[in-house]
Amino acid sequence: MKFSLGANQYYWPKATIAEFYQQAATSNADIIYLGETVCSKRRELRQKDWLNLAKELAKTNKQIVLSTMALLEAPSEVMLLQKYCANGEFIIEANDVGAIELCRQNKVEFVCGQAINAYNAPALKRLLGMGMQRWVTPVELGRDWIKQTLDELDSQNLRAKFEVEIQAYGHLPLAYSARCFTARSENKSKDECQLCCINYPRGRLVDSQEDKQLFVLNGIQTMSGDCYNLSNDIASMENLIDVIRISPQAENTFTILDDFIAREQHSEYRKLPTNHANGYWHEIAGMQTI
């Protein structure tokens, strides 16, 4: 099993990002995804900064992947994406099919990100033909769905041609909107957001009127209220999942990463903390826990 750090979903100050990736460089992660995937107004690091960071991190033995935006609305965003796809050095994590099209034009291989709806074997077969190296499973798919899909590809001798990755830790990106919900929570419009999401390094919690933690607001993204946590499910990923993804957290990311690595070697059941869930993997509501 390999382990990856997904692209950071939150908006952190430049110094915090730098510090995080300094630690990432010496961490036990095999793969590091870099880049802004949520909102093009988040520019603590600009494109050249991300590319420089990628070059720096590439000096370690890790695979570096440039992650790209999930929701592309303005032509300027597509132009920036085009520059990423033409970087000439790093492969791309596509989070919109537009990135796949630009990768194809630039003859760049890609990781099919979790925001792309590749739900079944015929879709993955087409994506393989376009240069897909790795499939990050859509957040709502569980083990049985993934297994059936991969079995079908195996029967066509296609399974060995790509890797399968799953986000195993962190709040799940559940939706993308034109609206910025963090700005809305401060009574601001998106055009006058003042980049207020930088004040919420863990996003903003949304609770029901009965204090059940439902969602996390993260700019235009709505995330799961519970932290997805598949630490008890690593054994059931055997022969299915090649890469376990840890989504960067404001605290303890590398302790969590090391814990997952240790749990792969010695699996032991531990009760999940409050507000953690693993429902999707078990084909039930995402917020539930088995």
């Binding site: 929701l71 609305e73 537009g98 709806n117 739900y119 009127q209 204090d211 799961s224 995402g286 917020m287």
Partner: protein, 331 residues
């Protein structure tokens, strides 16, 4: 601009035809369509009747096959595609790459419209689907501002269809998993958002409570209108603020924007609501027909009639309407 109206039953098809639809979109009563609700939609016999009614009046039939195929069950999606072609539908509305691949390969002459559930919001994404699956038209997600719709229209010569009226999805369609997070079922996987079987209403001392899979979505006092607990339209708490954290119960209404949409070269305006009654279909179709005809007759002096707004408001969620993402201040 084509007026494209929804129908979940034969009476709704008749209502749309009677009140001036140019085209009607429907789906089969199986999991291949993103409005898969009990008691709605068309079996093999009914879909043929619908096709005949629509053909007799020289109107167009579009069939939505716009969920994502479950592994092992792909035959259901193939069946829907085969059936749609067999009964002579003018267009197939498809989202899943697997289904697009099947339809484009088996029926190269079929007119394929990219469903809103495929979430194509930019030129590169449109090129992706066009180059790989020979699509003819794109239904744009309800996340673009009017300015962005215009920019996109200038960048591509593919036909564009926009949502003009009806329930407002505030997330990029096809990429919203909120429903499966709470219930295990989503538009992508089973063709339903916030499915009715998980809904529960209870009168309590604190007010009328609506729940989805036991999660409290909203609580209404006696003087408040209670709405269906679509989970993105509930009242939740952020810190100590209780408000509609994502969106209020409201419907999209762009009847004011007809001139702008026409200038943006929009091919078709779509009315949402296959799950709504024939009376709803009749009212919306009649008013939008009037509006489009009025614009056609005198584009320079087009103004939405206040009485249309009142009537449309009455059949809207929460009795209120919005321009949604088309207007930047909403975002």
């Amino acid at each position: 601009m084509e007026l494209l109206c929804p129908a979940g039953s034969l009476p709704a098809v008749k209502a749309a035809l009677e009140h001036g639809a140019d085209a009607i979109f429907i789906g089969m009563n199986n999991e291949t369509n993103a409005r898969h609700f009990a008691g709605l939609n068309f079996n093999d016999k009914r879909i043929l009747q619908a096709a005949n009614l629509i053909n007799q009046q020289n109107k167009d039939l579009h069939i939505a096959i716009n969920t994502f195929a479950r592994p092992g069950d792909f035959k259901a999606w193939k069946y829907s595609v085969d059936k749609a072609v067999d009964i002579g539908a003018k267009a197939l509305i498809i989202a899943d790459m697997a289904v697009l691949d099947y339809a484009a390969d088996k029926y190269p002459q079929a007119e394929i419209h990219l469903s809103v559930q495929a979430s194509a919001t930019n030129k590169a994404a449109i090129d992706f689907y066009r180059n790989n699956f020979n699509i003819h038209r794109v239904v744009l997600p309800r996340v673009l501002s009017l300015q962005q719709v215009k920019q996109l229209s200038r960048q591509t010569d593919i036909e564009l269809e926009v949502f003009a009226f009806g329930s407002l999805c505030i997330m990029a369609e096809g990429r919203c998993y909120l429903s499966s997070y709470l219930t295990g079922e989503s538009p992508n996987t089973v063709g339903a958002c916030s499915p009715a079987k998980y809904v529960n209403w209870q009168q309590t001392d604190d007010g009328l409570e609506s729940r989805l899979n036991d999660v409290l979505i909203d609580r209404y006092q006696d003087d408040e209108n209670a709405g269906y607990p679509t989970l993105c339209k509930g009242r939740f708490k952020v810190d100590d603020n209780l408000y509609h954290a994502l969106e209020e119960p409201t419907s999209l209404n762009t009847i004011d924007l007809i001139p702008e949409l026409a200038k943006a070269n929009i091919a078709s305006v779509k009315i949402e609501g296959r799950q709504r009654s024939p009376a709803y279909v009749a009212t919306v179709t009649r008013l939008w027909r009037q509006a489009l005809d009025k614009y056609q007759q005198d584009p320079e002096n087009y103004r939405a009639d206040p009485s249309w707004m009142t009537e449309l408001g009455n059949i809207s969620e929460g009795s209120q309407t919005t321009l949604g993402a088309y207007h930047r201040s909403w975002q």
